[in-house]
Symmetry: D2
Subunit: 411 residues, 4 copies
């Protein structure tokens, strides 16, 4: 570990939680340089929905490389991008009767959110964005202003303005009336920015009713309704979008993480055509917008959604994860553990950051990679690759259960 | 082009300047789907220092993929990252007696700049950053505040605060005294953020004297001196850093674009150890910080700097580019063209955005990809791959010369 | 009216509502240059608690002038200021066992609020202030940020930052918990700034319970609890402070308007000694802080509070005002009029800005000066001098009643 | 002094410099409660241009009081205000062929500046105001943002935004071009706000040439040109406006301090009619805008300007002050004292705040009230009443000279 300690910045975090040097990885397994194999419930923080080194993607990428495909194209047109767009339109948008324009922003989630905020402010001519407690949207100043956690916010070193914070999941009684009152002192919102499931915030799951209320509130105030589906989208919940079937019609949808499929960066905003036309060419740019490898892998990822079998599998495995966690919670009823989630994003809220930290460490010792989220990291978040085998899934949960038993007994 | 027009966002820009669909690319050549080949003087906006589909990198990447290397690792430790770090330390830092900690930020330039601003504000406890007219540092709100161009700034939709703007290259007479005066009304700066060569801003080259004056000003005011070497670094000027040999000692150096080598994203800040220790673990994060493919390709890129021969070649080709442009300027002395640059970033300032636009179009017609920069895009910027063959370089400049002749005659 | 139309700024407002030229005034009567007499229910927007040209004050001022008293002293010590301070301590503070330091700010309410915000931010080291919908605190940028009304806010021309807005009178369930959660994304408050009765905001009267809840919330979050008693204080409600007897213990109390007594400017903050010591000398200044005439008149005003008889009279007259308004409301039950107030600040909420405007105009026609407040001016606000005679009070309400009858019938 | 120490806020400043309790005052003399008489070179910080208890004003005020004149009128029309306006138009504006609308803002300088900034931002639709190092414009957040001194700025507790700071008196070479360049990163200014003589800032006198350059710069950029003549206007420099005869044509002129004449508050903006029409009625308000006593006294003040004799006297006395100070400076050439000023505002820059403080203290001991200004208070500022007798003026300077000799010798 010397090289990292000596030369890499002290800001690094996950290497302290998973203190080894990884050498290879395949589907839901990572192997360190000593040959030790770990089951991966961390899933690249939501990126690796289709597993490490997904075979189909790997094959497609190597072919692309060997054919001298255009690896880097900014926002020029390439055949690889066209293939991706066509597949996305056919596989995802058409079956849902969706009509959106696709913007490839800088290839990270934070860049997608920044671009979404820009277009919302441009369309409405307003500054203030409504975001939510426990929300996470990125680290650059525009999206960081929408992120709730103090630890990240304090690193900004400047006031984070132009955001009004509401309580996630809290009913909006009378809000539209308050905003309509010219003596309320409330800034008219440019946008409402929400995650349907707050992943980093603690696997907090919004109800359909509340999301519809939010959408109506956006309509009433003339704000854009933006869903940040960066971690919960791309199949994670058992549907392609986390809000499929809820009757929602967002103005902008932010995607990243799982959209590229292989772990190489890609980010894409879906924007209603009537809003998109407010952009002028090149007004929001970024060097790495056109990622050939990510387009190729992302195109392969879309094949998983050509029929419903893959998502059915996600639902089945998600139900099992939930059941097992409910069991664990029941066994430890004295701790008031709480299970939350949808599909294959499941959280076990231990209500106790210290306990959670010890469980994470014990899991690592026993060959499972899992991370904490929520305030003080007190929620154990399970986001294995959607392609994980039943055996690995079961074994991973066994390790988790044992770790919890051990830690909880000692507490 | 239909798919892009129908489904891709109107914000796309370069596809309008280079209106074709690219299918493959090799070193300094891009080929469209009709088989037409273009010489590339655009170089992925500074990313493709080692050419499209660089053979050595391609080979290394395919091997990495076939061995199931860890493609995505956030800030966990991997063998691929260690190889990169070791090579960077040995090849770049040690020969220069440099001592920096390396931070892999989110993999785009704007993310590197945002992280650099955070650490500067953290270290100094101050808010205000000094940036320069014509500077370009990215599109997210923190770095956009430092970017000078109105077209980009207006897209923010919110006031861009906490930045004081000075004139690039303008002497700093009396500035330190002014800042020391408690009645000056000037905010003490957290950082001075500067490009040694403003690439997007119009290929404006700072003198060594001015940069040393700036560095002294930073010392006098207690600000961090940050060089954004994202476009001008990684060999572009004929040295590894654009400021090599100037006797500068920046507190933070921002790198991206060329550091990954192949066109896949990577960004890295070099931070003086005494500043780096102000970070707390995980305070600045980002999903795509650990890019295996980029580490592998970037490690290959570093081999070009193991001895001086590659950089000698850059200097030789750069000198030729400059000579040819000087000749062109002389032929059109009536237009007061101006040539500026260093190594293989060279700009021809036509002083006329309309003329420049026509030249770009004429070049494209004749098989050369070249972009404009500076106010109204009036400066033709030549940043071919450093690995371009002499023949392609000459042919490209011939095409440019003919285009200028044609357009200038018609004007 | 020519001179005003020709030379005075278009920004003037009240002269349009009361379109005549006033020449003299005495207690609750103003007389215009044509000799027409008006009963004054407007009371100088809350300044003239002791009537126009209060005889005792007038006498004291003339004596002061004839003795060459110090009319203007900034924050130097003068005998006139000492007399005022001593009387305030003896008459107001000691009977209430209050311990506050007195700060004479620039002599307008907005200046007092700005100073209060400064000390709160200094004491806490925080930026954000909690203020309320329908609140009114002044027109300069610091206090305007706390003012809710859009009409005033839009005139700023800059974003009004560093204020979080809550709904006036709305229960604070779970707020302290939310603020204690490091993932709430809520800025820790420097202060809670509240009027016990929102005068400009529509005569909205806070309950004792809610105010105590607010005070507890301030304690829980470490914020200063600031009561802006500028319009409701100095005897207006039948007590000296509007919150007398509520068991409140504010950190800062802002006074202005009635404190000077005669209509000449004065403003004074009462600050808990432990907070006051955070000021450095001269850090918050202002040319007109030491107003000799206002000190002399203000000292006379304090004599009204040496025993309870004056306040008893206020309570009696206030009760009568309320009864009469309740009667009027009852007669017009079809309009859902609502009566709100305390002591001699009483509002009749007509729920209809157009109707209210017509009533104001009809009153003026018939010799009564009265103003509207609240959203669209829909609330008729009665704030006659506390010294008004029973006859003038009755006659004024008769005029009002007739006007309402006339306007309501026509509606 | 006990009462003040015990009950008045620690923020008070001047009472520490002049540690006695004043009881009466007449023209250029203040007398403390022990009967000690002081010559007043402090002049109420520029308010008392016509002396303490000016006989003509005192008489007019008492008559006004005895006739029950309207002491407080907000922005209603009164005969007293009309008299003032008519006199101002006839005496000041018409002889200068000026055409301005008069806005009576809240009656302090800071309120006038806040109103001026609002109208400038409204007219231009821009946010950023250009202000100058060493400038002083008030303590409320809008004007404080324009004030340069750190001591005052730090008390804000929030970032002071929307102001760009330039160096006072520094040539503007190339500024208009820089602002016209869309890649300069400079915000287009809403206004340029300048004092022709920075009084609090250290008696820094702008040249006519620089002011004309500024005005041209404002025109070129479409900004409003605002002169803050609050301390230097109303006769102080030997002309009514400090910029009389310079060929300037400001868009807005801010007046306060001397405009009311007697020491009671008044503030007035003069606004070009084409700008004034951007106000909506009542958009900028304030309780104490209509000050009857100040109108009456201010109307008397205007009589001093009906012919040139008074201003001639100011010029003569100002010249004497300057000569005497030059002599003093010459005697102490070893200290590099510098004399600056115009008319009866004269400053002796001692270049040493500690020395200056001792001189102020020694003057007080010997019966002279004088204040320091500029960085660390190093500049002794002489602003006696314009009506001071020759004897008092000479005696005051004698005291000052002796104090300097004593202190300088000891240094």
């Amino acid at each position: 570990m010397d090289v990292f300690e000596q030369w890499e910045s002290d800001v690094r975090g996950y290497c302290r939680i998973f203190p080894t040097v990884f050498k290879s990885a395949s589907n839901a397994r990572q192997v360190d340089e000593n040959g030790r194999s770990y089951i991966d419930f961390f899933g690249g923080a939501g990126v690796l929905n289709f597993g490490h080194n997904n075979m189909r993607m790997k094959k497609a990428i190597i072919e692309f490389l060997e054919s001298d495909g255009v690896a880097h194209s900014l926002d020029m047109s390439t055949t690889a991008k066209r293939d991706f767009i066509e597949a996305f339109v056919e596989t995802i948008m058409k079956p849902r009767s969706m009509n959106y324009k696709l913007q490839f922003t800088g290839p990270t989630g934070t860049n997608a959110v920044e671009a979404a905020l820009k277009i919302a402010r441009r369309v409405t001519g307003r500054r203030s964005v409504i975001a939510f407690s426990h929300g996470f949207h990125g680290m650059t100043l525009g999206s960081l202003a929408c992120t709730a956690n103090d630890y990240f916010r304090n690193a900004a070193g400047v006031p984070l303005e132009n955001v009004t914070r509401l309580s996630f999941g809290h009913p909006l009684d009378g809000m539209a009336e308050a905003y309509a009152d010219s003596s309320s002192g409330l800034d008219q919102p440019a946008a409402i920015l929400v995650e349907t499931i707050q992943a980093e915030g603690g696997v907090n799951v919004a109800t359909r009713e509340w999301l519809k209320e939010l959408q109506q509130f956006a309509k009433d105030t003339g704000a854009l309704f933006i869903i940040d589906d960066i971690q919960a989208g791309c199949g994670r919940t058992g549907d392609y979008f986390s809000f499929d079937g809820m009757g929602l019609d967002p103005d902008v949808i932010c995607l990243a993480k799982g959209i590229g499929g292989f772990g190489t960066p890609l980010a894409m905003n879906m924007i209603k055509p009537e809003h998109d036309k407010h952009w002028s060419p090149g007004e929001h740019t970024g060097t790495f917008r056109g990622q050939g490898i990510s387009f190729v892998a992302g195109r392969e990822a879309l094949r998983y959604f050509e029929d419903g079998s893959f998502l059915d599998g996600v639902k089945t495995k998600g139900a099992r994860m939930n059941e097992r966690l409910q069991d664990i919670a029941k066994q430890h009823s004295v701790h008031w553990f709480e299970v939350r989630g949808a599909g294959m994003i499941q959280g076990l809220d231990t209500k106790d950051g210290e306990l959670s930290k010890k469980v994470v460490a014990a899991c690592f010792e026993n060959g499972l990679l899992i991370g904490g989220c929520g305030t003080a990291g007190r929620v154990l978040k399970l986001i294995p690759p959607l392609t994980i085998s039943d055996d690995d899934l079961n074994e991973g949960i066994d390790i988790l259960e044992n770790a919890i038993n051990k830690v909880a007994e000692a507490a």
